[in-house]
Structures are given as structure tokens and as C-alpha cells.
């Protein structure tokens, strides 16, 4: 459950000006699959970062799983996984199995058990044969799967994905989409992929720093397509 209560974020532009994004946004997201769509720079990623407290709101309040993200950032992030657009930024260990094991350091203190659990996660997502492959030698799709495995290994209750398939080709996009469809956690998916958005239970359309449309997938995606029509 994600609750935004008159939430907004003040952001600074490169020219020194400031503007308030998303304010005032009041929504309660309890659906299992929620998609966020909108043009580049519209505020989608800011909305995603509000959910796990990476960007605390400067106005209003955001509660995820009942916890105020500004007051309980680490506790929220322990329950909310976040997948970035560029997996290279997210993968911090030299090999695949070590990166997943890093996510498990808190929950599994013994190294041998931790490694076994990490290998099991890699098997589950189809990277079992890449366990000791250096991360930099993996393809873009494999890296994104690995980033996802590192997040899923912590068994989050909410999974926020900020354009996880933008850098991927069609094949890997389908693999990541299928994996996200199987996840038990509530998923908030920021995406430019309108097919993926149409599969969501609810879609938010963010435009110029405001939630312009909020509703079922079909009508919201149609509203976005109409908004983006080249005149």
C-alpha cells in the first residue's frame, strides 16, 4: 500500500530556478500492478523515488506500507525494492553471485549459506550458469536480470521499477516483463512501454510535474497517446 497525501517535491534546475513537482498529489495505491507513464522529464522518476524515500517529499506526506518515508527511510527501503534504468549503477560487486549475496548479508550471516541462497536466486531467474561471470562481461539484459535478482532476494513487499526495460532489446524486455508479472510484491512500474502499462491494474499519467490522469489502464494510456499526438 502506497499513500501520497498532498505530496510534492521541490527540485532545482541547472539554471538555478526551482519548481515544485507533483504537488499536490493525493492518491492511495493498493492495486497489485500500478504503472506510471508520461513524457521525459514529467516527474515520473521523482514519483518513484518518493515511494521509498530516496526523495523525501518537501510538502505533504508519503506513507509506504504504513511507514512515513521521511521519518523511516531505512525501514521503508528494507521493505521496498528499487530497480533502476541502468543496472550498471546498481551492481556493486565484481561477480553475479557476489552481488546477489551482498543483498543477503543482513538476513544470512554465514557466507556459505548466503552463497547457496544467491545461487538459487540466479537459477530462478535463468542466470545460474553466469554465477561467477564478472558483472562487466554480462549483456545489458543479463545485468538488468541480475539487478532484479539482487532486489528480489531481499523479498520486498513493494517493488519500484524505474524504466527497467528502456535500455533493453525486445527479447530481454519480454524476459524482464515476464519476471515482473510473476512477482508476488506490489509493483510500481515507471515505463515508456505502453504494452506493459496496459497490463497494469491502474495507471497514473504524469505530465509537466502533475498527475494528469489516474485510472484503469485503457483510458489512461489512451489519454497519454492523445496528449502526445504530434500536431
Amino acid at each position: 500500500m502506497i499513500e501520497l497525501e498532498r505530496a510534492g517535491v521541490t527540485v532545482s534546475a541547472a539554471d538555478g530556478t526551482t519548481r515544485v513537482l507533483l504537488h499536490p498529489t493525493t492518491v492511495t495505491l493498493s492495486e497489485r500492478r500500478v504503472a506510471v507513464i508520461g513524457a521525459n522529464g514529467s516527474g515520473k522518476s521523482t514519483l518513484a523515488r518518493l515511494v521509498n524515500g530516496l526523495r523525501p517529499p518537501t510538502t505533504g506526506r508519503v506513507r509506504t506500507l504504513g511507514l512515513d518515508v521521511a521519518e523511516h527511510g531505512p525501514e521503508v527501503r528494507a521493505r521496498v525494492g528499487f530497480v533502476f534504468t541502468d543496472p550498471d549503477a546498481q551492481l556493486v560487486m565484481p561477480t553475479a553471485v557476489e552481488d546477489v549475496a551482498l543483498s543477503l548479508r543482513r538476513s544470512i550471516p554465514r557466507r556459505r549459506e548466503r552463497e547457496d541462497a544467491a545461487r538459487a536466486w540466479l537459477e530462478r531467474i535463468g542466470l545460474g550458469d553466469r554465477a561467477t561471470t564478472p558483472v562487466h562481461a554480462l549483456s545489458g539484459g543479463q545485468k538488468q536480470l541480475l539487478a532484479l535478482a539482487g532486489v528480489l532476494a531481499t523479498e520486498p513487499r513493494v517493488l519500484v521499477c524505474d524504466e527497467p526495460t528502456t535500455l533493453l532489446d525486445l527479447r530481454w524486455r519480454r524476459v524482464v516483463d515476464a519476471l515482473l508479472d510473476e512477482v508476488d510484491a506490489q509493483v510500481l512500474l515507471v515505463t515508456h512501454d505502453l504494452d506493459a502499462a496496459r497490463r497494469a491494474d491502474r495507471v497514473l499519467l504524469v505530465h509537466e510535474g502533475r498527475v494528469l490522469h489516474d485510472g484503469p489502464a485503457g483510458s489512461t494510456v489512451d489519454a497519454y497517446v492523445a496528449l502526445m499526438a504530434v500536431r
Binding site: L54, R77, F82, L91, E98, L102, R106, R111, H136
Partner: protein, 207 residues
């Protein structure tokens, strides 16, 4: 394998070096460092170098990538050794060059035969006493792992930046390589910091 593969990245194996306790490997490396300072003269330095090379052979280090990775160190050793030979005579020149190569090669043997996860655990254990003076062992250990991961990423980034400069006809401009590379490296550091925060890393210290 390409030149992007850094020399010191872990390679699974079952050699006697891989199977030795991590404490022995790290303790041996520390002893070697101290020994190189204490033992004087070219013959002892060359002796240590031979021992280190034998260790590298026993650990089955991939020679091609190891030599490529060590190339800058070998060049530096040749320059330092040459200069010292000219200024202070060949025994000093040989000793300094051999010491430098031995130390870097020994460290490479340790990182090639040790998983980063195991290094992280060892670093956390070793730094635990410093917790009293405010050092967070998990944070320091994570920084070491990040360094190992970042080296190949920076090499890739440098290659991409060089290609971008070439595409614009700026092959010979150091500025066209260094300025964007520095900006990209800082950008990447910021994104990595955000990703670490999102993963709640490093784990909080037990109270």
C-alpha cells in the same frame, strides 16, 4: 578475454592457493610488504620476486591478462629502476623495481584467488576493533568491493568517451577525453550512491 578484463578479478579455481585459508593469503601479503622494506639488497628482492612468480604460476593466473594488467606497473618499475640505477647504482635500481613488481603481483594473486565476498567478510572482521573510534567496518569493506567493481567500469567508460571524441574528429584532444570522462565518472558515482541507498547499503551497524 579482452583488455577490459582487469588482472585482479576473482577467477574460480581449485589450486592450493585458492584452497589456503584467507588469513594465510592476507597475512602472507602483509608479511611480504614488511619483508620487502626490511630486507635490503638486489638479491633478496630478486628472490622474493621469484617466489611471487612461482605463486602466480601455482595459482594459475591467466598470463595474458595478468601481463596486460601489470603493464603500467612494469613500465613504472622500469622507469624507477632505470632512474635509480643512473643516480644510485644498479643494486638500488634492481631492488626497487623488483620490490614494486613483487608487491603488485602478490596482491594480484590474492585478489584472483579470493572472492570479493570473502574479502568483504575478512575486512569487516579486521576492522571490527575500530568500531569504537567510529569506523563502520561494513562501509569500509563495501568501499573496497566497489573499487574492484568500478575499475573495469571506468575502463569501459574511457573507451566509450574516446570513441565519442573520435566520432567528432577529436582523436588527439586530451581535453575531449578527460573532461567528459571526469563528468561521467562523477555522474556514475552519484547514481551508484543513490543505488546503494536504495539497497540500504552498507548494512546498519549493530548497536
Amino acid at each position: 578475454m579482452s583488455w577490459l578484463d582487469p588482472a585482479g578479478l576473482y577467477r574460480p579455481g581449485a589450486t592450493i592457493v585458492h584452497r589456503s585459508p584467507l588469513g594465510v593469503r592476507l597475512g602472507g601479503l602483509a608479511l611480504l610488504g614488511v619483508g620487502l622494506v626490511v630486507l635490503r639488497g638486489p638479491w633478496s628482492a630478486l628472490g622474493v620476486l621469484v617466489v611471487t612468480v612461482v605463486l602466480a604460476v601455482v595459482a594459475r593466473l591467466p598470463w595474458r591478462s595478468t601481463l596486460r594488467g601489470l603493464a603500467p606497473v612494469l613500465v613504472t618499475a622500469a622507469l624507477v629502476g632505470g632512474y635509480q640505477t643512473w643516480r644510485r647504482g644498479w643494486p638500488v635500481g634492481v631492488e626497487l623495481a623488483a620490490d614494486l613488481v613483487s608487491l603488485v603481483l602478490a596482491a594480484t594473486v590474492v585478489t584472483v584467488t579470493t572472492r570479493a565476498d570473502a574479502l568483504l567478510d575478512a575486512a569487516v572482521r579486521a576492522l571490527r576493533p575500530l568500531r569504537r573510534v567510529g569506523v563502520d567496518p561494513e562501509a569500509v569493506a563495501l568501499a573496497i568491493s566497489l573499487m574492484l567493481r568500478t575499475m573495469p567500469a571506468l575502463v569501459t567508460m574511457a573507451g566509450e568517451t574516446r570513441d565519442a571524441a573520435r566520432a567528432r574528429g577529436l582523436d588527439r584532444s586530451p581535453r575531449a577525453l578527460l573532461v567528459p570522462l571526469a563528468i561521467r565518472a562523477v555522474g556514475r558515482a552519484q547514481t551508484t550512491a543513490e543505488a546503494l541507498t536504495a539497497r540500504n547499503l552498507p548494512p546498519p551497524q549493530p548497536r
